[in-house]
Amino acid sequence: MKKMYSNKLVITSLVLPGVLLFVFAILAPICLSVYYSLTDYSGMGSWNMIGLDNYKALMRDEAFFTALRNSLFLAIGFICIQHPLAIIVAAVLDKLSGRGESFFRCVYFIPNVISVAVIAYLWKFIYNPNFGLLNNILKVFGYKGTVNWLSAENAIWSVLVVLIWHGFGWGMLIYYSGIKNIDPTLYEAAAIDGANQKQTFLRITLPLMKPVIQVNVTMAVISALKQMETVYLLTNGGPGNATQFTATYLYQQAFKAFRYGYGNAISVVFIIICLLATVFLNKIFEEREPERRGR
């Protein structure tokens, strides 16, 4: 039996497809990116090696830092707005104990299955100052002016709203299953101790949800960093660079400004930032874990 389980040929045949995919679709492109990031390649014709010039230029590029700030803004927005809302709604849904539960779950999740292309175009219309849904709602409530939802100041908030709306069902569902997994006897015990609903939520539900929250926070930060599709179609980074993100910026630089080498430098830094962010978040949560157990 042991011999069978250590048959090199069989192992290779099992792992090879996955490894090949990894090498071909992920590792090789990254290596190529590193190479091109050291050139002044425009995307066409010949190129020269220029050392770290692209990286130096990147460190002075305001638009790139705007992109990073925007990612941070999104991450904070997800953590401070989307997730609290999702937890509260999940807790409320749990209280319904059955009635209408699956209906609401279904409705909340629907935006999530709609393609980003449709979502982005739909919201472009919703935000339209002249005939969009939002300004018409304001008019119904008696507001006289016209709000420019995608102005330089508002655009990033508007992007955040679309993303929260689109991803709400997913977040809610994850928290909901987390809550469902909490041992009901704990609630019974709390009820016996005379705790009210608020206390139960704060003292039992939230602490027990910690692992779920941690995973979700990590996912929120990563997805804020990776944001591209919605922004690309909704604002394409504008007005100016107000809603620029790393991914939209590297696309713009490589394919529009004919700076393929520079775009690759952005890609490389982008990957490093994502790796660092993941490692950093895992570190924070790992340190907390034993602390909690210690208590």
């Binding site: 995307g43 014709g45 995608l150």
Partner: protein, 427 residues
């Protein structure tokens, strides 16, 4: 004489027989031409014209299949770049402007054309210049583009507004129109380039004949701090501050801006003359499309240019891929398109504005009022500006100015920062 006639006829018959035979052999050889177009709307305007010619060509040459891939301008340029890496489709749209053509020609992806072939094609003098490098021709221009304000004549008359004759009058008019609850000018500010054209238009009105020199020097020296540049940028900013453009102009795309105008929500629409086909577009309500008229950028007080010095250029056109496997057929198709009675004539009949070829013989007198007006503007022009500013530098510059111009117009950055930033992008 009679004998001669007969023998000539006989010879002709023999020749046709001979060639007819070879043609029949060739006909069995299937050729597929790939056309990459920046005209996604195949049912209206320029896209319709292009499609008409393609269909005719296929009908006349049954062995040729033409496949069209059409994307709108932004996506087109991105994809074009990508194609440059892996090999182009056979016939492509190009722009005879440094921002686009310099890098493309440097990469050697376009085939050289024989200029002498086009002596009879009636190209307007100077229109081929933008498509040349070192005296060699790499593409043919399609249009003569003029930057204009389209306006709704009926709306103007009903409200007692009149076409402004100075820039200040226009800003005043804008305020009056806003008070009437209507958007003065629909502006495609989301794309950046129409505002850059607007900036060029204003700059031309200020600098006059110095326009090309000023811009060329600025690009060459990475220095845009000339007083005329500052003044022009200030005038653009003034227009935005005065509420001349619709709310949210800096985030709205081409279609949204145009729809504001064609649905009677805006009194004017700033765009190129290629949209003259609006007058024939049946998706647009009749009372609006029959009332569309144009005027050009009004003069700026103290500016060097007069009302008849207009912002116009030869921009878009076609070229052939250098490594096309069916280059001969592609060039044959290109030449077919440019026969004066094709692109130029059909374009004229469909009201898509001015081609880069002499169109006077196709005038029937039954053109839309809009077309006639545009023709008048061009024929009465005392001078034309040439390439708009955003297309005069490398594409990094173009990308930068088209993004930063949104920020400077909406007040996110000040004028000096704007000029410094676009200067830096030229390096």
């Amino acid at each position: 004489m009679k004998v001669k006639w007969w023998s000539a006829a006989l010879a002709a018959a023999m020749v046709t027989g001979l060639f007819g035979g070879t043609a029949a052999v060739q006909a069995e050889e299937q050729v597929t031409l790939k056309v990459f177009s920046n005209l996604p709307d195949r049912k209206n305007g320029q896209g319709l014209v292009e499609q008409m010619i393609i269909d005719e060509y296929m009908a006349e040459n049954p062995n040729v299949t033409i496949e069209v891939e059409a994307l709108d301008e932004e996506a087109y340029k991105t994809k074009f770049k990508a194609y440059a890496m892996e090999g182009m489709p056979d016939v492509v749209n190009i722009w005879g402007q440094p921002s686009f053509l310099d890098e493309v020609l440097e990469a050697g992806v376009l085939a050289e054309l024989n200029e002498a072939d086009y002596a009879d094609y009636k190209f307007i003098e100077g229109s081929l210049e933008g498509f040349k490098k070192d005296g060699k021709l790499y593409g043919l221009p399609r249009n003569t583009d003029v930057a204009v304000f389209y306006y709704n004549q009926k709306m103007f008359e009903d409200n007692g507004w009149s076409v402004p004759s100075t820039y200040d009058e226009m800003l005043e008019l804008g305020k009056t129109i806003t008070e009437a609850g209507i958007t003065p000018v629909a502006m495609d500010g989301g794309d950046g380039w129409p505002m850059a054209v607007y900036l060029s238009d204003v700059l031309y009105k200020i600098a006059g004949a110095d326009y090309q020199g000023t811009v060329a020097d600025a690009v060459a020296n990475s220095d845009f701090t000339a007083d005329t540049m500052k003044q022009a940028t200030q005038l653009l900013r003034d227009a935005a501050d005065a509420g001349l453009f619709q709310i949210g102009y800096d985030s709205q795309d081409y279609g949204t801006a145009m729809n504001l105008f064609t649905n009677g929500q805006a009194a004017m629409f700033y765009m190129g003359s290629w949209e003259a086909s609006m007058a024939l577009n049946e998706d647009i309500p009749e009372e609006i499309r029959t009332n569309i008229r144009v005027f050009t950028m009004p003069v700026v007080e103290g500016g060097a240019a007069s009302a008849t010095d207009i912002a116009a250029w030869n921009g878009g056109g076609y070229a052939i891929s250098a490594n096309s496997e069916v280059k001969e057929e592609a060039i044959k198709f290109l030449n077919y398109m440019y026969q004066p009675d094709k692109l130029s004539k059909y374009g004229w009949e469909n009201g898509v504005g001015m081609s880069a070829q002499d169109q006077t013989e196709y005038m029937t007198g039954e053109e839309t009022e809009l077309m006639k007006q545009i023709v008048n503007i061009v024929t009465e022009a005392t001078s034309v500006s040439g390439t708009p500013i955003n297309d005069c530098g490398p594409s990094a510059f173009k990308t930068c100015i088209e993004s930063e111009i949104q920020s400077v117009s909406n007040g996110t950055i000040d004028i000096d920062t704007f000029l410094a930033d676009i200067g830096a992008a030229c390096k």
